[in-house]
Symmetry: C2
Subunit: 380 residues, 2 copies
């Protein structure tokens, strides 16, 4: 379909990746059908925290992921602005940055590793005492043992963003097919819950963007993606509670990672990690750990209302980089985004448009080519 | 209306008390209208744990409450049997009894007070070592420091019971008026959300059974009832979790009361207590405490799914006894049941039938006469 802007593209999956790709493809002139039983709802994107934080999450050995993340972060302000314009619903990008804090001396040693790593890459972070941290965010509790100020990371409200993406895709002419896909072949998406004549969508190109469920759709993805369960809590401030912090607060608590992402009316707390297959039940142990760790950093959340406990499945690959490229003739993968679906949406959408329409690919997206995992190379 | 069985009785409130009274009044021959926007749902009865436990909850100084509770407990098997017969939905009475356990030596001293008190009333309880307790309920954790076996208490699934009561009331001829009441006068219930001709229900007798909201309905109840907020969690067992205990497990954890009531498919954990007005939000601090205390007694709940966190308002009086009797001509109060709505439903329904139809009142119900709170005596 290179160079043709009037073919039919079927995007399978209505999470942040699928809807971003569908919207940008439609804007680029493609006729797009987005296939999802309930676009925006119920999947990992609905559950997500909405941090756009490649820097605070950097780690030695994951330099290509940091580069890809930084490239996408750089695109976010423009992406958000277009999204607001096309949808009439600005996604409310927050730019207050992140405090990465520690709960004990071993946790602080982990932060030192992060700070040294970022410094070696030429990125500035500032080490702060607990006292100085509390000067920045007075809600931090006495259990905080120093930390880092990481400027530059962003955050969005994931659900407002999904709503905006749906509206933008719709206004760009994306046609929504409200059904689940059960298989993809070149030129065909078979639907699971339709009968008769409309049991398949025919197209020139298929984009597979069903997250952790991607590997069920096409043999080329088998074994390439595994679900990593994460539980997440949504808190709402009350008349009797202190206001949410301005920055994202995150870090290790006795070795266990927790984050608190501020919202206009509350805080999102995440996220546990389990290698437990396709399990999306919220467990007592998961909620207990999230609350304990989050209260360690911000004790005032005790007075917040706990309004939602959910779990989602991160689509994870062996190197934590997404799968972004051709996997069979006419079949593009845009999945495997692990914890970074929202962060990587702009660069992924741009890469998908590049792959489908023959325009230039972002340089950093090369590292995400599916051929790295040992499958054969495929160009269209 | 003494001696007349064909007058119209308006029962305001579709919780366990209102529906039990409506059902029994209809069976006794009254024409009953039950006024509630959504009978069975949303109120304290929907949130409740369903323990029928006057003995395990006995305390020195509350002898009249124990007598009333024991009288109602005694009626429960027959009440449940009739309810199953009239509704076709047996409420599933559980008779495995209760283990009251302790988490430290101060908690155990509290249990000694309870055991001595029950012994002085001629009730048998058995003191057990932790080891013996674990022989009875292998799911008890190493944090249990001895306890008591209290036979005789019962438990029901509150939601199955509410469903059965609605069905039984319906099949007995109760007419459901799906509206909220905003005021009660002798012979009239004014509705809040209706317009025009049907904005009031006219009747011979009104029974006020709106729990914590009762005092808003009639001046005679003003100041007599206060809401005591309680948070409660619902857990479901999973393929990877141990089965629920057979008995109710309850007791103090460092002075804070917690209970775990088994269900066919899980456990209900309750309940916090706050004097916080009409607040039904679930707080982070409440959930954290309930989980911590329940895990202290039964560590295996960590692997359960946390499926629901809710809060309800106990309708409480200054002596923890209900208000059960005439409060104005043609107006009966059946409220103030504090933590004991399910337990006291049979004796309350019998008392309401006695008051309305002129039949005999249960002797133990005398202690609940509203006149004890200083209002004037009123006989019909």
């Amino acid at each position: 379909m290179s160079g043709q802007q009037d073919g039919i593209v079927a995007v399978v999956g209505g999470g942040v990746i699928g809807m971003s790709a569908a919207w940008r493809l439609a804007v680029a002139g493609c006729r797009v059908r987005l296939i999802d039983p309930d676009p925006g709802f119920g999947g990992a994107s609905w559950v997500a925290g909405g941090m756009l934080a490649p820097i605070a999450e950097a780690w030695p050995g994951e330099e290509p992921l940091l580069e890809l993340g930084a490239a996408s972060l750089h695109r976010w302000p423009d992406f958000a602005e277009r999204l607001g314009r096309d949808s009439g619903k600005p996604p409310g990008l927050r730019d207050e940055g992140t405090l990465v804090v520690a709960a004990d001396s071993a946790d602080r040693a982990e932060l030192d590793t992060l700070a040294d790593h970022l410094a070696s890459l030429g990125r500035t972070v500032t080490r702060h005492t607990s006292r100085r941290l509390r000067g920045l965010e007075p809600s931090l509790g006495p259990g905080v043992r120093g930390g880092l100020e990481v400027p530059g990371d962003l955050a969005v409200d994931n659900r407002i963003t999904l709503e905006a993406l749906r509206a933008a895709a719709e206004s760009a002419g994306v046609e929504f097919v409200r059904a689940a896909a059960r298989g993809v072949r070149s030129g065909v998406v078979e639907l699971a819950d339709s009968t008769g004549a409309d049991s398949a969508v025919h197209c020139d190109v298929v984009v597979i963007a069903t997250g952790a469920h991607a590997e069920e759709l096409h043999p080329a993805l088998r074994g390439a993606i595994r679900p990593v369960k994460g539980e997440i809590l949504r808190l709402r401030s009350r008349a009797t509670s202190i206001p949410p912090p301005r920055r994202t607060i995150r870090g290790p608590v006795h070795g266990r990672q927790v984050y608190l992402v501020p919202r206009a009316d509350g805080i999102v707390i995440g996220a546990t990690q389990y290698e437990a297959g396709f399990d999306t039940e919220v467990t007592v142990g998961g909620v207990r750990n999230l609350l304990a760790d989050a209260e360690r950093f911000v004790p005032g959340i005790a007075e917040y209302a706990l309004v939602e406990s959910t779990a989602g499945l991160r689509p994870s690959t062996e190197d934590n980089l997404p799968l972004l490229g051709w996997v069979a003739p006419g079949v593009v993968a845009a999945t495997g985004h692990h914890r970074n679906g929202f962060l990587l949406a702009p660069v992924t959408a741009e890469a998908v448009v590049g792959l489908v329409c023959g325009s230039a690919l972002p340089a950093e997206a090369k590292a995400a080519d599916p051929s790295r995992l040992g499958g054969q190379q495929c160009t269209s």
